[in-house]
């Protein structure tokens, strides 16, 4: 009878050990799965490109706000003001001191493929130089281009959007 009680005690300790091992493994797998952050920078860069492309064109035609009184393209177009961009970031790491965004819009003549001009770029220009760096700490860079017309003129517009924010999107 005494022997039986001993075996039961050992068995319950064994069951507790197995329970903890299984629970620990499940927790570890959950951490592995959910612990990796989602990289949302692609969405952010796309949103930036979309906002700018909507701001300067509609239905495939360049909007009037990109032209000056003499019907020439405004080379000093203020992207932040005209396109309602907001580059404010949360207080995290050194994000407040180091801007996390960069945007540049370039105009090309579609027929001749020749470069016409850039709108004044906004954001942290240093991010542009690290675009081609490989590694987790490099910023996310996307260049979108689209064809647009105004009267008989055909343009190709390239929008380069860069988002850094590596600390929250890459581990």
């Amino acid at each position: 009878m005494k022997n039986c009680r001993g075996t039961d005690k050992i068995l319950s300790v064994y069951w507790f050990a197995i329970l903890f091992i299984v629970a620990g493994a499940i927790v570890y797998m959950a951490v592995l799965f959910y612990g990796e952050p989602y990289d949302l920078r692609k969405i952010e860069t796309n949103l930036l490109s979309n906002q700018i492309s909507n701001c300067i064109s509609q239905g495939g035609v360049l909007k009037d706000n990109v032209f000056d009184e003499e019907r020439k393209l405004k080379e000093d177009f203020d992207l932040v003001k005209e396109c309602h961009l907001n580059f404010n970031v949360e207080s995290y790491s050194n994000w407040k001191e180091q801007e996390q965004y960069y945007v540049k819009v370039s105009f090309y003549n579609f027929r001749s493929n020749s470069f016409l001009f850039d709108f004044p770029a906004v954001g942290n220009i240093n991010l542009k130089d690290t675009c081609n760096d490989k590694g987790d700490n490099s910023p996310f860079c996307v260049e979108k281009s689209f064809y647009v017309i105004k009267g008989d003129n055909q343009y190709l517009i390239k929008i380069l959007s860069i988002v850094r924010k590596t600390e929250k999107n890459v581990r």
Binding site: I21, M29, K42, N46, N50, N54, G60, F146, L156
Partner: protein
Amino acid sequence: MFAKINNKKGQIGETLTWTVATIIIIVILAISILVVSFNFSSKKFVYDEHDLTVLKSMSAYLLTDGNYNKLSHGGDLETFNDNGLATKIFQDNYREDYPDYNRLGIVHDGGYVITDYLFFGTEEQYREAPTSYNLRTKEDTYILEEIKLNENQNFEFIGIKRRGS
């Protein structure tokens, strides 16, 4: 004496059973952890299925040289692409964004009948003809942009970029 030996044999048998069971449990857990770490430890990206810049280029293409009127009244893309405009816009411009499949087309009846298309890619890519349902991984990008030409016809662009391309 015999009872004691039998009891010991029983105990050894039970211990063996539990040892094997423990090993099996640990092996199953280890395999599960390995599978999770191999499949999910890579970067997680979130993709959307639309590209506004493609849609804008499609609108501008339809507005150029009266292409909208021509295409919506039975014209075919290949004839209008004689000047290479569609190729220049949709192949040259979006080849890098969608290197694995790049097609401009006119489809009827909600996409079931494709009457006319310009395919910008290799023969192998064309034969494979991927859809949003047979992508290899969730990290492949598939975009479909459509503009209604008339009641039955849609002007559409399909672009695919596979993971790592």
